[in-house]
Amino acid sequence: MLEVTALDKTYPGGDHALRAVSFTVEGNDPVFVIGPSGAGKSTLLRCINRLVEPDRGSVRLDGEEITALEGAALRAARRKMGMIFQEFNLVERLTVMENVLSGRLGYVTLWRAWRRRFPPEDVEAAFATLARVGLEGFEGKRADELSGGQRQRVGIARALVQRPKILLVDEPTSSLDPRTSESVLRLIVDLAAEDRIPALVNIHDVPLARAFARRILGLREGAIVYDGPVEGLTDEALARIYGGAVLGEDAR
């Protein structure tokens, strides 16, 4: 389904963010990517939907090579990947409904987007998705009126309303308190399971990853140093990912 091969990225500043990263995601189970800050987790997700341009390597979604796409074909590929962000990245001055409907932009013309005239079935899907994330009745509120947890739920609805084939989730809980973190992560995992799509979730909180993951990818300095079931995530494996010295502090 998602097939990443020898993905390499060096930023113009010389920061070698990804080093020959290869893995595949099959089936619908969520895959959690852990690793210290700066390990390349965000770069990895952004190279998959090409918000960041990888230097080398290949990304295949259902067999289609993403790295070679341009223009309309690239936008069509992006529609198939729903992204959820660390800072939510809602358009703050727009309403909840406008934010959710932005997930349908890939399917409508500029003229419709300008006048906010989305097809009735898109509006219906947006209402239904808002209900799924527990925000019924919030459609008329402006995004900047919401709490952090509510904003992330809007972010989840925006990604789901794309009807994606995979969710790319970048540190969804870093801007949230521990209780909200858990419920947001639970929501993402449950809704992805309902829609029978996999989620690739970046997270630095190892206990949270342990609680929700079946499979873990460990990233360190841009390279995959662990790829296996959550049961195999021993102290020795964590030391490989986070480095022995900071183990107590970062991974508890």
Binding site: N49, L51, R78, N89, V91, S102, L105, L110, R158
Partner: protein, 263 residues
């Protein structure tokens, strides 16, 4: 007892250089004043002339006021329509002139060039040009105001665009949106307050600028002012100046009020 220690801010050489520089500056200013060709007997006469002029303007010819209503409306219309046209033209210019939304280096250079041309030519000169192109009247005035305002509005607007939150735009891009949709859905909502503030501010400036456009035949109350001066109707001139002052005060107050609300 030790001898008091000497301290000088400048060395003797520096002091001499500074004195020379001051003398040189004074010489330049003196030369410039001499080149002004001042007729001192006229300057001496100025207080009498001012008194005479004010005497002829006062009291203003209030009965002429109804004839000024139409030119006044024209002036406000020139400023308002000119501002609206300028904002319309500024949107694409600003998107090209902001580093984070410009499509390419060529468009960026072109947009910057448009800004410089617009800003380096004064409204009165634009008005002279448009009076020749479309004939005298309010249309020429409106076009002049628009041409002058495009640079100002698009420059401030482009600065606003460069300060937006990238994350919000990134999220819209991740949905598979086109470039145009990115601007409409991700960028425009973020810069709307800036745009509103700039529009109102420029409208206020344009009200003031359009009061003089009539001097070169581009319509509005300046046209009435020019006629009154040429006809030596000084009490009318007095009235027109009072009216212009009133309009400017009202537009400033309106602009301050609207800008306070546009957030």
């Amino acid at each position: 007892m030790t001898a008091p220690r000497a301290w000088r801010r400048f060395t003797p050489g520096q002091t001499a250089a500074r004195t020379l520089a001051r003398l040189g500056l004074a010489a330049v200013v003196a030369w410039m004043l001499a080149r002004l060709g001042v007729r001192w007997e006229w300057v001496a006469d100025a207080p009498t002339q001012i008194g005479d002029l004010l005497g002829r303007m006062f009291p203003p010819e209030w009965a002429f006021a109804p004839a000024l209503v139409d030119p006044l409306i024209q002036t406000v219309n020139i400023a308002t329509l000119g501002t609206a046209l300028a904002v319309f033209l500024s949107l694409p210019v600003a998107f090209c002139a902001a580093l984070n939304t410009t499509p390419n280096r060529g468009a960026y250079a072109l947009a910057r060039f448009v800004m410089v041309v617009s800003r380096s030519v004064d409204t009165l000169i634009w008005a002279l040009i448009f009076v020749i192109v479309v004939g005298p009247g309010s249309l020429a005035g409106m076009l002049a105001v628009a041409m002058r305002s495009v640079g100002f509005v698009s420059k401030l607007f482009a600065e606003g665009i460069e300060e937006i939150d990238r994350g919000q735009v990134e999220a819209v891009a991740a949905t598979g949106a086109t470039r145009g949709q990115l601007l409409v859905y991700g960028v425009l909502p973020q810069v709307r307050p800036v745009l509103a503030g700039v529009c109102i501010y420029r409208w206020d400036i344009n009200i003031r600028e359009s009061t003089v456009l009539g001097l070169v035949g581009a319509g509005g109350i300046g046209f009435a002012l020019n006629e009154a001066i040429l006809g030596l109707e000084w009490s009318r001139v007095g009235l027109i100046l009072v009216v212009i002052l009133g309009v400017v005060i009202v537009s400033e107050a309106a602009s301050a009020y609207l800008r306070g609300r546009a957030t």
